[in-house]
Amino acid sequence: MGNMLKVDGLNVFYGNIHAIKGISFEVNEGEIVTLIGANGAGKSTTLNTVGGLLKAKSGSIEFEGREISGTPAHRVVSEGMALCPEGRRVFAQLTVRENLEMGAYTRNKAEAAETIERVFEQFPRLKERSRQTAGTLSGGEQQMLAMGRALMSKPKLMMLDEPSMGLAPILVQQIFDIIEALNKEGTTILLVEQNAQMALSIADRAYVLETGKIVNTGTGKDLLNDDSVRKAYLGG
């Protein structure tokens, strides 16, 4: 089990706002790793930088031993990682099927057709609604679509940014079950959550992010029982 993703000394700025202050972390093959932290801690900034949407000022991002921090954003997905962004960001005016097709943009037609069947098995709801535009789906269905769309590139590493945001508790449970199932099938997961309780309970390892810095790390179980983490993120 080697490092799949290794981030070292990452610094990210918005103009002159120093949002990520020299963080380092790693994700090993087969793991579920979670980044938790309060609103504004820098979780999304971190994922978006790894995913190529933002450019780091300094630091390195290695994926399977290759440096990817200089890779153009649209090529990052071909490296084998997919980001399911905060707020889902499905293409509202495209149909469910078209959204999934876009997820396989870098792959050929035959590969896409095969993967789409697998995604439909995983998310039967999406199959039922494949001809509907994504904007007409419920929040939970949109989240499933966003995850299905990310899976269409057959990523080795799937990054999820607050997949449970705004969902009813029963749907949250369902989404976390799916994440665990994906992981069992061999996809490595980097999960960002404000719902620390849920995230820590499925994570192998976790990092706690506070105003752009990593302030704590450990196994999911350790952090669930850590006093400072309990106080700050688990409501006592």
């Binding site: 190529g52 090529r75 960001r89 495209l94 097709e101 590139s153």
Partner: protein, 290 residues
Amino acid sequence: MLTYLINGISLGSVYAIIALGYTMVYGIAKMLNFAHGDVIMVGGYAAYCAMAYLGWPPAAAVVFSIAVCTMLGIVIERLAYKPLREATSLAVLITAIGVSYFLQNAALLIWSSNPKIFPNIFASMPPLKIGDAQISAVTIVTICANIIIMIALTLFTGKTKMGKAMRAVSEDKGAATLMGINVNFTISMTFAIGSGLAAIAGVLLCTAYPNLVPTTGAMPGIKAFVAAVFGGIGSIPGAMIGGILLGVIEIVARALVPAVPSDIFVFAVLIIVLLIKPDGLLGRKISEKV
């Protein structure tokens, strides 16, 4: 009356073809390319030069014109607009107006302000007679071209991978990038298609109104913009309907009240549409999902 209607539809078809360029670029790059009208003018001159100086047959001249404008569209986007991708829309708008003046003045330098008389490229085709109405070949060709372009674009955006990617980019550039879509390339292609259509519009316009001058594209460009807003900017069928309605309004108004310049009606339409339905006939409110 039938003649007016058909002539209106024909003029409107030219507006529609131009409006498609406006609307596609707006839909995908979220900018108003005010130089679009001047690309039409360049298309007219390109076809004129190919025929008058190189002695090419009309069909080859049209292809040449499309090639020139497609390249021009890509170059304009690359040099003038791409560096402003993160800039305010006002900066982009002013740049577009600058590009428009640049093209007009470049044309003035190269071809002078003396009108070039554009040849009737459909001279060999006889006009169509319906009752006592006579419909010229260029009118018919224009309407047919419009229909073909409409169908082709609908199929392109609905069925092809590139077309779907364009729609994805128009909704969310960041999410599209995450899919592996090269947003810059997609925007470039949008300009290429829009400008290629402008070349076709230029040839059709100059065949119907043969006085070709450096400002030939300006007024049709503005009217096509009105048509695009009228139909709902960003919407392909909207551009089509807006263009045709505008052409019909203009020609019918010119016939019914010849004392009043018909452009007044065109711009009155813009103002009324903006007041009553700011999104245009087929425009949709883009609801921001958080």
